[in-house]
Structures are given as structure tokens and as C-alpha cells.
């Protein structure tokens, strides 16, 4: 158990605290979770009190991720014994089928849960994921759109839809998803920057520049936005001969200075700085350009 993440774990208390942190932050550290389970938690699970049911669920999901069905069965058995009529445990049973790629059985269980509770978001999403896992992308996109009509505030789902559209290179629809997210979270610099990335990819440099600037206003340390500003102002230079042109020059130079500062602050070696400088030469607006 020598991953960087687990070097600090010395005892049972550390382990259970780490698991709690991962649960709260919803991170996917499946291998590390199983390592902690086997080394510290499993031998004395009852010390956790009522928290143990959450840990069983967490370890069950990690075990499915790592295809360790022995641990998964143990956890599921404990949960079934305690919560025999729980829909949440039923969902876990279905996820075990998913892990074995038996989508037919998984979907049967999901349908039966939805019959009793048709707005169970967790289960609706599991049903969607079965489509994605089978690479039925068109169906997946259609159903995800239907889901979002019901759950318009589910930002995770909007992000997922955006990513799916990006993979299919449908930039217009991906941009639409990010517009929804920006409306919901106008102060999130990442959404502004990603929207700008999409606009840049579509060749809409003006709009991209605007959104990179919004993003930098919210977080001047966003390196992707700094690079984005550099790229957009460089691409715009030749199409403008007015005050906007000179504004572009100033922004270009500012972006360059900020990026240089970042690399210098972390003591990057000469070769890396040379690589970055050669990029600047290519993307700098010359003083003679008007």
C-alpha cells in the first residue's frame, strides 16, 4: 500500500477518517478504498457504529470498480441483511449486474424501482448509464435530454451531456449545455473558460475572447484562460485595424506576461521556458500591426 495517498494512514482512525473524507467529497479512489478496507477497516467494522452501513456501500462500489466480486458480495450481504426492503440496496444489487455487463438484469431491477417511484433520480441516471456503457450513444443523448427536462438543475447531468456532445464533435449543442450551467452558476470561472474553449473551437474568436476575460476576472490564475486569451487575441489581430486592434495587442501582452510569471514562479527549467517562449513568438502581435 505505497501510493502517495495512503502514506499518511497509520491506524484505524486515520483510515476511517480518510474514507469519510472520500465519501463527503464524492471522489473515486476505488483501489485505495479497497486497500484501506482490507488493511484496517474490515477486521473491526463494528467500531464504526452506524457509519458502517455507509462504509459498506462505499466499499461495495469500490469493489465493483475493481471487479473484486468477493468483497462486493460480502458488503452487499451485510446491507441486505440489515435493510431487506430498501430501494437503495436494490439499486446496489442492480449495479452489481452492471459491473458484470448483464444490463438486462440490471434494467429489470431499475424498472421495478421506477414503477413504485418514477422520479427517483439516482435510478433514472443508472438507467441512462446502462445505455452509455453499451455504447448506444444516440439513445443515451436522447434519454439524457429527457432526464434534463425533469431535472433542470442537475449540473452534473448538464456537464455529462456537454462532454458527450463534445465527443461527438457537436459543438453547438455542447455550448448550449454550458450556457445553462453559466446561467445557474455565473461565478464559476471554469464554466466560462470551457465555454470560451468551445467558442474558440468553433472559430468564434470574439466571443471566446469575451468569455476568457470573464473567466479571468473571476480567477486571474486560470492558466487555460490565460492561454486562451493569448490565442484569441493573436487570431483576432489581423482582422482589426481600430481601437479594438490596439486593445487586443494590450491583452495579448498582458496574457503573455501573466503566463511568463507563472512559469517563473515555479522555477521552470530553461528548456520548458524556451518552449513557452517559442509559442509566444508565434502568437505575439507585433508592434507594427495596427
Amino acid at each position: 500500500m505505497s501510493t502517495k495517498n495512503l502514506e499518511k494512514i497509520k491506524n484505524w482512525n486515520d483510515a476511517s477518517l480518510q474514507l469519510r473524507n472520500w465519501r463527503d467529497d464524492n471522489v473515486r479512489m476505488s483501489k485505495e478504498t479497497l486497500d484501506l478496507w482490507t488493511a484496517y477497516i474490515a477486521p473491526s467494522i463494528n467500531r464504526l457504529g452506524d457509519e458502517k452501513w455507509l462504509v459498506y456501500e462505499q466499499v461495495f462500489l469500490a469493489a465493483l470498480d475493481c471487479q473484486n466480486f468477493t468483497i462486493a458480495e460480502d458488503c452487499l450481504a451485510a446491507l441486505k441483511a440489515q435493510f431487506s426492503s430498501s430501494k437503495r440496496v436494490k439499486k446496489l444489487r442492480a449495479m452489481r449486474y452492471e459491473a458484470k455487463e448483464d444490463y438486462h438484469s440490471a434494467l429489470e431491477i431499475y424498472e421495478s424501482i421506477l414503477e413504485e417511484d418514477e422520479t427517483n433520480a439516482h435510478v433514472l441516471k443508472r438507467r441512462l448509464v446502462c445505455l452509455k456503457a453499451q455504447n448506444r450513444i444516440n439513445d443515451y443523448v436522447r434519454e439524457l435530454n429527457e432526464y434534463l427536462k425533469l431535472f433542470q438543475a442537475d449540473h452534473e447531468a448538464w456537464l455529462e451531456l456537454c462532454d458527450t456532445y463534445l465527443n461527438e464533435m457537436d459543438f453547438a449543442k455542447a455550448a448550449f449545455c454550458l450556457e445553462e450551467l453559466i446561467l445557474m452558476y455565473p461565478h464559476n470561472h471554469v464554466y466560462q473558460q470551457r465555454y470560451a474553449d468551445i467558442k474558440y473551437t468553433q472559430g468564434q474568436f470574439d466571443l471566446a475572447k469575451t468569455y476568457y476575460l470573464y473567466s479571468l476576472k473571476l480567477n486571474p490564475n486560470n492558466v487555460r484562460s490565460l492561454y486562451g486569451l493569448l490565442l484569441t487575441t493573436a487570431n483576432l489581430k489581423s482582422s482589426q485595424k481600430t481601437k479594438e486592434g490596439s486593445d487586443n495587442t494590450k491583452l495579448n501582452l498582458w496574457a503573455r506576461e501573466q503566463i511568463e510569471k507563472k512559469y517563473n514562479d515555479v522555477d521552470s527549467d530553461k528548456n520548458l521556458i524556451d518552449s513557452v517562449n517559442s509559442l509566444f513568438q508565434y502568437l505575439t502581435i507585433g508592434k507594427n500591426e495596427k
Binding site: S2, T3, K4, N5, R28, D65, K132, A133, N135, D163, L166, N167, M169, F171, R194, A196, D197, I198, Y200, T201, V223, R224, Y227, G228, L231, K262, Y263, V266, S268, N271, L272, D274, S275, V276, S278, L279, Y282
Partner: protein
């Protein structure tokens, strides 16, 4: 061209990138020394992204910096690898095609290595990818020739996996999130060489 080969360093870094992000798609660029005869040997690789592969800005920045790195080290960009998050997808898609086309515009050769998820574990003793090449006919076709791996490659990967070294590799996405993380992975290169010399004993 009858055969291509891939060095230990390039293969190991590719492998570590996949091991670091098992639930996500990954891709990266492959570098080789320019050669007078028509064989290609991938000697190094630069892991690029584990998300949003089709967005232009990060990609342009990456390629430009990698170009400069190549000039500093006498290398050329000769291909890329892509691993899909979906277990069962083994053929290149439109995104791969566009990337292969772009590399061909800027270089002599353009290879596309698509990772086969069932073959990643080095204990299989098989290369974990299938090779496609982008020809003058503008088509991406399976490469019919031989693929050679440097001796000791699988053993090195096994050792790296055992020692959980995959958290050490940095891709371009990591670099853009924190410029301190070196996408050239120079320290890791040294680590890998150290493993190689141990397994040679």
C-alpha cells in the same frame, strides 16, 4: 514500411497514463527520431489529456510546446495513442481520424495507436494497442506490419504497477491545472530508467 517499434520509455509512459486514469479516456502524442530508412521507432511519448479531447485551445498550446521540445531533442511527432473509456470500443472514431489527418499534414508519418482495454495488463505479454496508419489515400487503416517492443518492456511496466508509480506521471491537463507539473515527465524518465537497470540484473 514493414515494421515499427516502440521503446521501453514510450511504452511505459503510455501505460502509466492509462493506469492513472482507469475510468477515463486518455490520449497522448508519440515521438520518434527522424530516420532515413522507412522504419519508425517511438522513443518517447507525451501524455496529453484525460478529458475534453476535441477542444482546440489546449490542443494547440500542447502541440506547439511539444514541437519546440522535439526541436530541442532532435525528435519528430509521428503518431498518437488514444484509449477509450468504454471497455468495448477498439476502433478509431471521427476524433481519431481528424487528429491523424492533422499530424499527417505536419509530418511524414502519422500512426494512430488505439488501446485495446482487454490487453493493458503487462502480464498478458502482448502490446496493449492496435496500430493504424494514416496513408496518402487519406484513409486510416490497420497497419499490416510487425510491431516490435524493446526487451524488458513488460517487466518494467509490471514493476512500475507494483510500486504504484502511476501517480507520478503528469499529462498536459495536469500541467494546465498546475504549471509546476512537468508534462515532459523528466524526473519520471529517470525513475523508469532506474527500474530498467534493476530488471536487467
Amino acid at each position: 514500411m514493414k515494421e515499427i517499434s516502440i521503446g521501453k520509455l514510450a511504452y511505459s509512459k503510455l501505460f502509466l497514463h492509462l493506469a492513472k486514469y482507469p475510468q477515463l479516456s486518455c490520449n497522448g502524442i508519440l515521438l520518434s527520431k527522424p530516420s532515413k530508412n522507412s522504419s519508425v521507432k517511438f522513443v518517447d511519448c507525451v501524455p496529453l489529456f484525460h478529458s475534453s479531447f476535441t477542444l482546440a485551445p489546449a490542443f494547440e498550446i500542447a502541440l506547439s510546446q511539444i514541437d519546440s521540445y522535439c526541436q530541442q531533442n532532435g525528435l519528430v511527432i509521428s503518431g498518437f495513442y488514444h484509449a477509450f473509456d468504454n471497455n468495448n470500443q477498439t476502433e478509431p472514431n471521427m476524433m481519431c481520424y481528424k487528429l491523424a489527418e492533422k499530424l499527417k499534414e505536419n509530418g511524414d508519418v502519422s500512426f494512430c495507436l488505439i488501446v485495446d482495454n482487454s490487453k493493458i495488463n503487462p502480464s498478458n505479454r502482448e502490446p496493449c494497442f492496435n496500430v493504424y496508419s494514416f496513408g496518402d489515400d487519406q484513409k486510416l487503416k490497420k497497419f499490416p506490419g510487425n510491431l516490435n517492443l524493446e526487451e524488458g518492456t513488460y517487466e518494467t511496466c509490471e514493476k512500475l504497477l507494483e510500486e504504484n508509480r502511476f501517480s507520478l506521471i503528469n499529462d498536459f491537463d495536469n500541467h494546465l491545472d498546475d504549471v509546476k507539473k512537468d508534462w515532459r515527465n523528466l524526473k519520471l524518465n529517470e525513475n523508469i530508467s532506474a527500474v530498467e537497470s534493476l530488471s536487467a540484473k
